[in-house]
């Protein structure tokens, strides 16, 4: 039997929110291979958050199937949750707890414990330049520091897949550089990264594969370089994005 390289598969995925006649995502088929840095790009209201939410198991689709490493949420929710890491756009941390207390709590929730967890926290804090701030409360951190801890909380348990929702929004150039550099490093170690962003230049340089989605449909998909090559009149991903999704302003 041939080994399947797909880590995520969406089959005919459709989602209608209750009371809405318009699908948030409409019959999407998508396959993501292991080891990719996959960018889900789209304007506000395109269906990115809905797709990510379904992938993270926050709610189910109206129809269609989601396979994460060959498993479905209906049957193996806890197994899937053990192999994914989620880094939400909001700073999803407890402000009154220190960085170490936050990470210890989230580590425990993933079943990590004892010396292994302590060493892993130390390793991650050092990796992101926060080892001296381990015992400071999150509410005293700068925006960039909070975002780095927010990221560590999602990767502490060495997940197979990381979902990143705008991981660099609102941070300075230094923090962004550190975050992206370490994400590349984690990716090289075999972790698949699913990433959403409005920052096209960052996506072009960071992602190995992107899908541009709008109005619940995948409009185009491929390696950023290939997408640019397919449209010689455009020189970067942002121009192609605007060409495909239009210049009209979008509401949420």
């Amino acid at each position: 039997m041939q080994e399947n390289n797909h880590i995520i598969e969406l089959k005919y995925l459709t989602k209608y929110y209750k009371g809405s006649g318009v699908p948030a995502i409409d019959n999407i088929n998508l396959t993501i291979n292991k080891g990719e840095i996959y960018g889900l790009l789209g304007p506000n209201g395109a269906g990115k958050t809905t797709t990510i939410s379904i992938l993270c198991g926050l709610f189910g689709p109206t129809s269609g199937n989601v396979f994460i490493d060959g498993m479905e949420y209906q049957h193996s929710a806890d197994k899937i949750r053990n192999i994914i890491g989620v880094v939400p756009q909001e700073i999803a941390l407890y402000p009154s707890l220190t960085a170490r207390e936050n990470l210890t709590f989230f580590g425990h929730m993933y079943g990590l414990k004892g010396k292994y967890l302590k060493n892993r926290i130390d390793e991650c804090l050092k990796l992101f330049g926060l080892e001296k701030n381990a015992n400071r409360r999150i509410k005293t951190f700068s925006g960039g520091m909070k975002r780095r801890i927010n990221l560590i909380a999602g990767i502490l348990h060495k997940p197979k897949i990381i979902f990143l929702d705008e991981p660099t929004v609102g941070v300075d150039v230094q923090s962004r550089s550190v975050i992206l550099e370490h994400l590349r490093k984690i990716n090289k170690e075999g972790t698949t990264i699913i990433y959403t962003s409005h920052h096209m230049e960052e996506a072009e340089n960071f992602c190995s594969q992107v899908a541009i989605i709008d109005k619940g449909n995948i409009l185009t998909e491929g390696k950023p370089k290939d997408l640019i090559a397919r449209k010689p009149e455009y020189t970067d991903l942002e121009s192609i994005f605007l060409h495909i999704t239009g210049r009209a302003l979008r509401d949420e």
């Binding site: 709610f59 189910g60 949750r81 909001e90 999803a92 207390e101 929730m109």
Partner: protein, 427 residues
């Protein structure tokens, strides 16, 4: 298990580090219970112990005036005032003083009131002995009425007014009986001069013995503290709903709930850790409020709280009440989408539950329909259970039904939260 323990530890850290919130959580219920007990103590004493000042204008100067005056002075309920600054109070002054609210009640006994009673008594005797021509007894048959005026402050409670009126009626009727017997004996003596006249002796044939029904050997006397501490403790414990619901909403607002939902730890694990911590807070609140009742209230001139012999029953009731309150908080925090919704709905619903539960007005005086509705108030179950323990000496068996109802309420609230949480996943 590790997830649950870690989650409990995290909740404790979050709670402990919110110093202001923690202070509010413990100090406010204590302030509430002290103030409410002090206030309610005054109301409680109005009927039992408070010495209320009352004006007496006795224009009769005869037996009726004397009987009423003697009776009122002898009563433990009233403090009688007949003059101010050495000046005798007149009827008009009494009316004015009561109208100003300086006194609750003013009693005016008119001149010759005793004569009127005496005349009526003689008329009755005459009627009885009309076939005998008794020389000493006047031939009077016309009845007259005496008007004892009672000025009442409109702010006076109905129960106090009723108590004064019934006391006055008692004094008057006793005088009438005495007078009747005396005149009757005199008439008989005239008819049968050889017989020695019988002297009237008042004798209390029926005595009323007050015994507070209790299942314990040691009688616990009902007083304001025995009534109010359990009532307001129950009320304060239910207010744990607000910080708990706020905690859940805050976690959702700041994104932590989002992250937790993507982790292997289930919704139930997270909620149980919150229940555990807030139940601990509620139990601690309960113990502090009991300690206030036992040690602080006597220092403030209030009676001491008697906990009674069934401490295990008390602990079980406190835990069951705490669970009911935390279950309600979890349901509210899960369903409410904003802090404003949770705070408004939570506070108002607790006040409604408390009103229905008999915290302010006893359930037995409520209209029939409300009495039926009150049977569904968790505060009613809790209060009943605490009254069983504090006033009726009830043990674990006695409070079993109330405990079961509170636990069922807790489970029902948890189910609502779980079902709603699952429902949002299908939205």
């Amino acid at each position: 298990m590790l997830q649950l323990l870690s989650s409990i530890y995290k909740e404790l850290l979050v709670l402990i580090r919110d110093r202001a919130g923690l202070a509010i959580l413990f100090i406010m219920p204590l302030v509430l219970i002290l103030i409410m007990t002090l206030i309610q103590d005054a109301t409680f004493r109005t009927v039992k112990e408070v010495n209320i000042s009352m004006i007496l204008v006795n224009n009769d100067k005869d037996s009726l005036g004397e009987a009423i005056s003697k009776g009122l002075y002898a009563s433990e309920y009233f403090q009688i005032v007949e003059e101010i600054d050495g000046e005798k109070i007149t009827s008009d002054m009494a009316k004015e003083l009561v109208a100003k609210g300086d006194y609750k009640i003013g009693i005016i006994i008119p001149e010759r009131a005793t004569d009127a009673i005496r005349g009526n008594v003689n008329a009755l005797i005459n009627k009885s002995f009309k076939s005998f021509n008794i020389p000493g007894v006047k031939k009077r048959t016309k009845k007259s009425t005496v008007n004892v005026t009672i000025y009442i402050d409109p702010a006076t409670s109905q129960s106090f007014k009723n108590m004064v009126l019934s006391s006055l009626k008692e004094f008057t009727s006793q005088l009438e009986i005495e007078m009747f017997f005396k005149n009757f004996s005199e008439a008989m003596a005239q008819m049968m001069p050889d017989q020695k006249p019988v002297k009237f002796e008042s004798f209390e044939t029926i005595k009323y013995q007050e015994v507070y029904a209790s299942t314990t050997k040691d009688e616990m006397l009902p007083n304001s503290v025995q009534h109010n501490v359990p009532a307001w403790t129950m009320f304060a414990m239910f207010f744990i709903v607000l910080p708990l619901a706020g905690n859940i909403i805050k976690e959702r607002d700041d994104g932590s709930a989002f992250r937790l939902k993507t982790m292997p730890g289930s919704f139930v694990t997270v909620m149980f850790s919150k229940i555990f911590v807030f139940l601990g807070v509620a139990f601690l609140q309960f113990i502090l409020m009991l300690l206030v009742g036992v040690y602080i209230m006597p220092l403030m001139g209030l009676p001491q709280l008697e906990i009674g012999p069934h401490k295990i029953a008390l602990g079980v009731m406190a835990l069951a009440s705490g669970l009911a309150a935390t279950g309600y908080g979890v349901a509210l925090g899960t369903i409410a989408t904003t802090h404003e919704q949770a705070a408004t709905f939570g506070a108002v619903s607790i006040i409604i539950f408390a009103a229905l539960g008999g915290i302010w007005v006893p359930v037995y005086v409520m209209p029939h329909t409300i009495r039926i509705i009150s049977q569904f108030s968790p505060l009613h179950w809790g209060l009943n259970g605490f009254y069983d323990i504090f006033l009726r000496g009830g043990d674990l068996v006695v409070v079993a039904a109330e405990t079961a109802k509170l636990l069922i309420f807790f489970i029902f609230m948890l189910l609502i939260a779980i079902v709603y949480n699952n429902y949002t996943k299908t939205k």
